[in-house]
């Protein structure tokens, strides 16, 4: 019997998966935009983004725009690869029906 692939636990969390997927489609995104799209609270969003940052899947850039702080998040190459692997594993687990 062939061995089933394991799903990456860092990405598997729903909010982290949503964040990584959102970042796949854009060059960089502000914290406020990610909050608006996911509907998450500031605390939860910050914590999940930190986990993704620690795993090396997103990079953070802090700037000041017109004296206001701006935090930009970008998906890294490792993040793209991890998400691609995760999708491949998901499809394999779900079988050829998808």
């Amino acid at each position: 019997m062939p061995e089933l692939p394991e799903l990456n636990p860092v990405i598997h969390g729903k909010l982290r998966l949503a964040l990584l997927s959102l970042l796949m489609g854009v060059e960089a995104a502000e914290f406020t935009w990610l909050r608006e799209k996911t509907g998450a609270t500031d605390g939860n969003l910050g914590a999940q983004l930190m986990k993704l940052e620690e795993a090396g899947y997103v990079s953070v850039e802090k700037n000041f725009v017109m004296r206001k702080p701006q935090t930009l998040y970008r998906i890294t190459d490792a993040g793209r690869a991890a998400l691609a692997q995760y999708v491949a594993a998901l499809k394999e687990l779900l079988g050829s029906a998808i």
């Binding site: 598997h12 729903k14 998966l17 949503a18 997927s21 959102l22 970042l23 796949m24 489609g25 854009v26 060059e27 960089a28 995104a29 502000e30 406020t32 935009w33 608006e36 799209k37 509907g39 725009v65 998400l83 999708v87 998901l90 499809k91 687990l93 779900l94 998808i98």
Partner: protein
């Protein structure tokens, strides 16, 4: 039963990925107003240059195009910057590609038409054909990128206007140009604004 539940959860994850990638790529920046703005600017420049306006400043017909185009470019830049900041919309690869097409086209137009106008080495027909062809190229490229037949149709109208201006008289070439402005800047711009509002309402409701 347990197996079915697991499969459902996994399929839900896959759907979440697809939805989120699509949401990220969907631009929320409103840009259709720029179409209408430039259409109105073209009409103002034409009216000014043909002596439709009176008065000491409006009497200087040679200043019509340089001043109208420069002021419109500044207004466009300031409003777009302000809207982009307030919307906090992230840049996508497609939006960067489209912006670069229009910025490059705008710079080319300024770089070519200012010296052309000052040197007086081109007739009105040739100048209008050049402007129409440039607008057709930018519309065609954007239409292909966005997979939007309506914008590609605008490119066809501009190409036809360019060809018509080379075969017609001064008056006929101007009429062809004005018709193209009406269809591709004003009508298309308003149509795009309606689509943007509908999209915004639909997704605003979906997010709420």
């Amino acid at each position: 039963m347990q197996d079915e539940t697991n499969k459902e959860a996994l399929a839900e994850r896959l759907e979440l990925i697809e939805n989120m990638i699509a949401q990220g790529r969907r631009s929320t920046t409103r840009w259709a107003w720029t179409c209408v703005l430039w259409g109105v600017a073209f009409y103002v420049a034409i009216a000014w240059s043909t002596g439709l306006f009176g008065g000491p400043i409006w009497g200087r017909h040679y200043m019509a195009w340089p001043i109208t185009m420069t002021v419109t470019w500044l207004v466009n830049w300031a409003l777009a910057r302000r809207m982009r900041r307030s919307a906090k919309a992230p840049m996508t690869t497609v939006s960067r590609a489209i912006i670069s097409i229009w910025v490059a086209m705008g710079i080319s137009m300024f770089a070519l038409l200012f010296p052309l106008g000052m040197s007086g080495r081109a007739s009105q027909q040739v100048a209008l054909a050049v402007v129409s062809t440039m607008l057709a190229t930018a519309n065609a490229a954007s239409g292909i990128l966005l997979k939007w037949p309506a914008q590609f149709a605008c490119a066809v109208v501009w190409w036809l206007a360019a060809a018509a201006s080379l075969f017609g008289s001064d008056a006929q070439s101007m009429i062809a140009f004005m018709v193209a402005i009406f269809l591709c800047q004003i009508v298309f711009g308003i149509y795009a604004m309606i689509l943007e509002s509908r999209e915004q309402r639909r997704h605003g409701a979906a997010n709420a």
